[in-house]
Symmetry: C2
Subunit: 177 residues, 2 copies
């Protein structure tokens, strides 16, 4: 995921738009708990792959460490080839509702982007599960595209029957990857 | 998604396991804001499809209503064929870490299930975007598998290049759909 977005306290780029009320300052409608952390080779924003394709090309594997109370929840996951990870982009702003990424010709809405900067900064990543040590709470992944230490919210088994749409279309000028 | 799990205050089934500390009662590590609601034909748990395949078979379309402050974020989404929705299962318990769904032979960890009952009750749904009225904040979907009124956390464009793994494997005894 890109973490090249403008930091929260810098002015928006031309065409960008901020929410009047920053979700980061709101009381919120519900609370999440961090169930673990992602361990990745990426410690600096400028080094972090912008998406899973880039992460795979760069060749750095990833690891997930699940906190002790939640490890019983891993039973049975070893039989799936792929997992969905939901992460919390704890170093991303939340109030930029229209953004102008470097790869794009024009500014666009956050819901048409996979930017980590979003009202609820939740990342969704599909990774191959290379190995699982359920007792230690460790998942070994083929790749991961988040900064080291990123909090984990959820792990789900990936079901091709409901999650895979290889024919899905995206705009030709979307800035590939 | 299944909402046939035991309610939070009923005893677990044999083989099931509860967390010592219910995440629903914890102060939490971060807060989410509801950016809209899902509108679906399903108002009762017993009628709600257990997953997107069932929802498609049942033929009831779905709709997402995005709250006014967040509608600017929809600009550019109309050019994608599929979207990822992240929802908040507001009527699901959060403390059942090992569960025994009716379709499964044995109890298994929550992270090997797509049950709505999970430490962070976030649903992930890939839907076809049939139409978008960005000004009104309305997305028309081919189907949706959540109860009417379920809060919305995020919308992301679906990228086949990073999200589609049609070859992904799951156990043969997993209770298909």
């Amino acid at each position: 995921m890109s973490d090249k977005q403008a930091p929260q306290d810098s002015p928006p780029r031309p065409g960008e738009l901020r929410l009047a009320d920053d979700p980061a300052a709101a009381p919120g409608d519900a609370s999440v708990v961090f169930i673990g952390r992602v361990r990745s080779p990426w410690t600096r924003r400028e080094d972090c792959p912008k998406n899973m394709s880039q992460a795979r090309e760069r060749g750095g594997a990833g690891r997930v460490e699940v906190a002790a109370p939640f490890r019983a929840g891993l039973a049975g996951l070893e039989r799936f080839s792929h997992v969905v990870l939901l992460t919390w982009f704890d170093r991303a702003g939340r109030d930029l509702i229209v953004q102008h990424p470097k790869h794009a010709a024009v500014a666009r809405g956050v819901f048409a982007l996979r930017s980590p900067v979003r009202p609820n900064p939740i990342g969704m990543h599909v990774a191959r599960l290379e190995a699982l040590d359920a007792a230690a709470g460790v998942l070994h992944l083929d790749a991961i595209d988040v900064l080291d230490g990123t909090p984990l919210l959820d792990i789900k088994p990936y079901f091709a029957s409901i999650d895979a749409f290889p024919e899905a279309a995206r705009p030709a000028d979307d800035g590939r990857r």
